[in-house]
Symmetry: C2
Subunit: 395 residues, 2 copies
């Protein structure tokens, strides 16, 4: 049955304001925003002053407020807010992927102990309901893998490169000019944003929490024209993917890496700032969920779906974690990768298990071969200082 | 919390047997099939005899059986089974779209009165979780339209036509040879199968039940080479779509019809026997859900998801129907269509509001114009006897 939620909102940036407008224009919703906590006193706000506060406790300690919606940037402050709210037995809706990816294990326990609920579908793939579907629909052990284009900025950059013939730096500038990439784009282009989302998705897809810093994560900033040319000649595209995959009945593996994508793969047509997630299972082959992964209103609509779910007391049961056989994260797996390198000294950091293809050319060389994920993890920090580019070539 | 379901299964065709295998191989599932009711005594079955019965009441009147899974072909018998089960307070999982589309209104009431639950995600789009997502995730009034390729057989035929240069009749034969179309393909190619699914989807997307026979439904069997050539010359494809669309805050409209599809539309790349559903909303623009719409295992996996949902007492709340402003079905809307005709006497059945484009040629003529949906509905039966082809040209 439906009940009314009284909301305390943290943050009034693009998503927070988008949500406020949405709630105002949808009068039938059983929700009411009682207070909005903001940080900057100087900014002009489009809401009446009596709704605003600068003191978090005005929300966190208000017993009338049943639901905290956390939409701020700073992950440390967000952590404090969410933890305090859960400890006080309040429900929380959050879209802060970095904070969630770091603290999910603790939050799962806090929810159990304090009978509170934390929903965060907006944190992974914006408007595309990936978390909820993994939790509710794919809730049996048929799941084989989840592969996603989870970061709109890097996908926009790669789309520009492959459709407009741009190079990496001009495409990045175009993305920044349009607001698709931050002035410091590192979290997007180095794969961290996708990694945080992958950690959240894995928790609901395979029932295990894996800390972000134990996952191999490699972005697109080292891509060069040779890599682009290599892909184009073979009618391939390069996409930054995040992937978690069942290895056997006891283990799964995961990584974030660019991928050489064939035209017949579903993600081949996921272009621009869009997100796409492929869910592969024993019976249903592959399914694609596709849509806007970011932006004020797509994200706000996802937050709204979590809020209305709380109207019906919905909470994640963490079914895979609680009711299925426990699976462990394994890095003792082999990946097929493309490695472009200029100097043999760079190449020598990589311990390939086997090599399928080699090319030596004027200033550029590449190999395609099989390498252990734990080898890549071991040299993760070194790789970023080398003049190389890596891409997954598996399926 | 999870509890055990004791299942009575009706039907042991490809889906029923697929489900049986799935449950057998997934031992952690809290489910047990106690009885399987079948019709044909002569067939060899891959299960031990003590599980089988030919008497429906062995399941329906067994108090130990908490969940009836109905996977038979005959919609009248399916109706009797589902009704009897719901009256007895049992939960039911069904994939019978024809039966559901005809009797959903009654079943919704029966569920309320007898506190029983009926789940049927397998009935619309096989493995793609459309019903559950519309019910649970898009549960606010931001939804603008749902447009789907809901029938795999007709989509396979149209894909063959556009990718292999086949004509309608050779493509139909190929589909039949591969088992993608029945020996009597009329339900698929005339749009009825898509219509039944649309009725179900509309109930969860817009909260209203519309009987199938009050919806304009037109299939692909009248397509001719001229129509194919017309589309190809403009770099378009023809896809059979089912669509429900919000007209204003009080009304929605719906139909099943072929559509001329532009290359930049998401469904342009939904090929072969696949299904794809585009969910359009105020905030999130358009989202695509894509996957296998039919087949033994994809359908069985969807049935399985409904069964495991019952392990957690999940039932549809029919949220749009119960908690949102009631919307009414309207046929007083205008559609932009392409109409190919050979004879003026055929053309004269159509009362266009306005004409945007006209072509007179050797043996073939067409117009593109705007027509009222109630005009099309009025002449629905006549159209099938004319030498014409219709396709939606709107967005």
């Amino acid at each position: 049955m439906k009940h009314i939620e009284t909301i305390g909102l943290f943050g009034f940036g693009v998503v927070g304001e988008g949500l406020f407008q949405l709630l105002k224009n949808n009068k039938i919703m059983n929700t009411e925003i009682k207070k909005i906590c903001i940080k900057q006193r100087s900014k002009q706000r489009s809401v009446s002053q009596h709704l605003l506060t600068y003191n978090a406790n005005d929300i966190l300690d208000d017993e009338k407020i049943s639901l905290v919606v956390e939409l701020i940037d700073d992950d440390q402050s967000a952590y404090d807010i969410v933890k305090h709210a859960l400890l006080n037995g309040k429900s929380v809706v959050s879209g802060n992927k970095k904070m969630l990816a770091k603290h999910l294990e603790e939050f799962i326990q806090l929810q159990q102990i304090h009978s509170s609920a934390l929903l965060y579908d907006a944190s992974a793939c914006g408007s595309v309901p990936v978390v909820r579907n993994l939790e509710e629909y794919y809730d049996n052990d048929l799941l084989k893998s989840i592969t996603g284009i989870l970061n709109g900025s890097s996908n926009y950059i790669l789309s520009q490169i492959f459709s407009k013939g741009e190079n990496y730096h001009s495409a990045l500038k175009a993305a920044q000019a349009l607001g698709y990439a931050e002035s410091d784009p590192s979290s997007d282009v180095e794969g961290l944003d996708a990694l945080y989302k992958l950690v959240i998705i894995t928790c609901h897809g395979f029932g295990a929490y894996v800390p972000p810093d134990s996952v191999f994560c490699y972005g697109i900033s080292q891509i060069k024209n040779f890599d682009i040319q290599f892909a184009k000649e073979k009618n391939l595209k390069i996409k930054l993917i995040a992937r978690v995959e069942k290895v056997n009945n006891d283990h799964f593996t995961m990584f974030v890496m660019p991928k050489l994508v064939q035209p017949d793969e579903y993600i081949y047509n996921v272009e621009d700032e869009n997100n796409g997630v492929i869910i592969e299972g024993e019976c249903y082959d592959k399914q694609l969920m596709f849509g806007k992964g970011a932006g004020a209103f797509p994200t706000a609509s996802s937050v709204l779906s979590d809020i209305t779910a709380r109207n019906y007391n919905y909470k994640y049961e963490y079914k895979k974690r609680n009711y299925f056989k426990k699976m462990s994260y394994s890095i003792n797996t082999e990946l097929e990768i493309y490695l472009r390198y200029d100097n043999l000294s760079d190449y020598n950091h990589f311990e390939f298990e086997s090599i399928f293809e080699k090319y030596f050319g004027k200033g550029f060389n590449y190999v395609i071969g099989s390498i252990k994920l734990n080898n890549l993890l071991k040299i993760q920090k070194v790789i970023k200082k080398l003049d190389v580019f890596l891409a997954f070539t598996g399926n």
